[in-house]
């Protein structure tokens, strides 16, 4: 099992045929997928934006399809555009934005419903270092300001070290290590011992 499959188990795109997935004390198997995902935000490497909607509309879309009143949708969308630093480009189409900006729109969309858990599958995989830093800054703010748990899957060691949080290393579908502080923390700890 790879990291993407593990994340799919979290947001119930895939159902576990063995074992249990527990989120916040609840067995995922017992919660309908749609209800589970309403408390989550999901981000992918390829941004999957709606090409004919502006940055504002792409972010708002996630709230609109959950039938949030327009005034609230607007308020939250403006707030998020500010958070992801795209308030000046709110009315641009994805084709008029850079790759990094598009990913920030995708991050904004995942935050519109104020999730308790943010699941990000290689969100910086297609980004240059500068845009990677900006996305990581957004995650940092979301974690600090809203206490949102972020599960971030990546193979980029520098990104893991930049975050310097809890790191779970997977190898051949098994947990190899579970440490705090960065990718090499486990090795450092082992070395210290």
């Amino acid at each position: 099992m790879g990291k993407s499959t593990l994340l799919k188990l979290l947001y119930k795109e895939v159902v576990a045929d063995q074992g249990k997935v527990i989120i916040g004390g609840d067995d995922v198997a017992k919660i309908p997928g749609s209800k589970l995902r309403r408390s989550m935000g999901i981000i992918f490497q390829n941004f999957r934006l709606l090409e004919k909607k502006t940055a504002f509309e792409n972010i708002a879309y996630g709230a609109e399809v959950l039938a949030m009143p327009p005034v609230e949708v607007r308020r939250r969308t403006m707030e998020i555009l500010e958070l992801v630093g795209l308030h000046e480009k709110a009315h641009r189409l994805p084709s008029e934005l850079s790759g990094g900006e598009q990913q920030r729109v995708a991050v904004g969309r995942s935050l519109i419903n104020r999730p308790k858990l943010l699941v990000a599958d290689e969100p910086t995989g297609d980004l240059d270092p500068e845009n990677t830093d900006r996305v990581l800054d957004i995650f940092d703010r979301v974690y600090r300001d809203h206490k949102t748990t972020i599960v971030f899957a990546t193979h980029a060691v520098d990104v893991v070290n930049r975050l310097s949080r809890r790191v779970i290393r997977l190898k051949d579908g098994r947990v190899e290590s579970d440490t705090m502080g960065g990718y090499w923390a486990d090795d450092k700890q082992a070395g210290a011992k």
Binding site: R37, L50, G62, V65
Partner: protein
């Protein structure tokens, strides 16, 4: 579903229709044509059924008694005959009176004496399609000179009307299936065009019925628009066709089924067909379960 959900679904449906303008126009045109044919056959079928009912009322048997046999003698025998619904005496002088306005009383008096027409009997059948054995039984009765009935005419008309009714039902079912397939194809295209939207809706936690709602609203709008177009065509042409039929077949003047009935059926059928198509298309793409 709250009011905002309806508002957003309507907006998405409008955008979806606008985005695929030509596919939407083609769907509406084909659905309208199908509804027109469906409604047309429905109307024809209803009217043929009316003609059949009318014929049932019109098929009467005239019985002429032998000279010296009073019609009153035959009347109870005819009324007791199996297959006979009723019988009555037609007085000869009444027939004379009926012909007088047609030919002019003076002309008629010069041509025929007032007692030229003997009394006869009119027999109404319980089942007009079973006229032949009843007529044969009447012919075999003592005191009957002749029996007249529109055998060939009635039987041929029955065969034609039955054929049209049966064929009409088959055609209506055929058009119904064609319209359903058309709506299904259009909605499948709409679903394919919105793969990313469907995915995003899933990610943010919209349930299968919520996702399907957008396509159902879109299908409903296309169906409703087609129905209104087809209904408008029936409204404008129905009365005209009715007038033409009445001018050709005056005895049908009070017998024709109103086109309003067909318009009502068409207005309901269009959205229902489109909703069925939309439901089937989205079910295939989205699935029913919420795993």
């Amino acid at each position: 579903m709250n009011l905002w959900a309806i508002f957003y679904r309507l907006r998405e449906a409008r955008e979806g229709i606008a985005r695929n303008t030509w596919a939407s126009v083609a769907t509406v045109v084909l659905l309208t044509l199908t509804l027109l044919m469906f409604g047309g056959f429905l109307w024809l079928n209803a009217n043929v059924a009316q003609v059949a009912t009318l014929l049932e009322r019109q098929v009467q048997v005239r019985v002429f008694p032998l000279e010296g046999t009073a019609a009153e003698v035959l009347l109870p025998q005819l009324q007791a005959l199996p297959g006979v619904k009723g019988a009555k005496i037609l007085e000869g002088k009444l027939v004379y009176e009926q012909l007088a306005p047609v030919f002019g009383r003076e002309t008629l008096m010069n041509a025929l004496p007032a007692d030229a027409f003997a009394d006869s009997l009119s027999v109404e059948l319980a089942d007009p399609t079973q006229a032949t054995p009843v007529v044969e039984a009447i012919r075999g009765m003592t005191g009957v000179s002749d029996v007249i009935w529109g055998q060939g005419f009635a039987e041929v008309l029955y065969r034609i009307s039955n054929g049209i009714q049966k064929g009409g039902i088959i055609l209506i079912i055929g058009f119904f299936i064609a319209a359903l397939l058309m709506s299904l194809t259009a909605m499948q295209l709409a679903v394919l065009n919105r793969e990313v939207e469907i995915q995003i809706q899933r990610w943010v936690g919209v349930g299968p019925w919520g996702i399907r709602g957008q396509f159902l609203v879109e299908a409903f709008l296309l169906g409703l628009f087609s129905s209104i177009l087809a209904g408008a065509v029936f409204l404008y042409t129905g009365e005209m066709i009715q007038k033409i039929i009445i001018s050709l077949v005056p005895f049908m003047s009070n017998q024709l089924t109103s086109p309003m009935l067909v318009i009502g059926v068409v207005l309901v059928t269009g959205p229902v067909l489109a909703l069925l198509g939309g439901g089937l298309a989205s079910q295939r793409a989205i699935g029913m379960g919420d795993k």
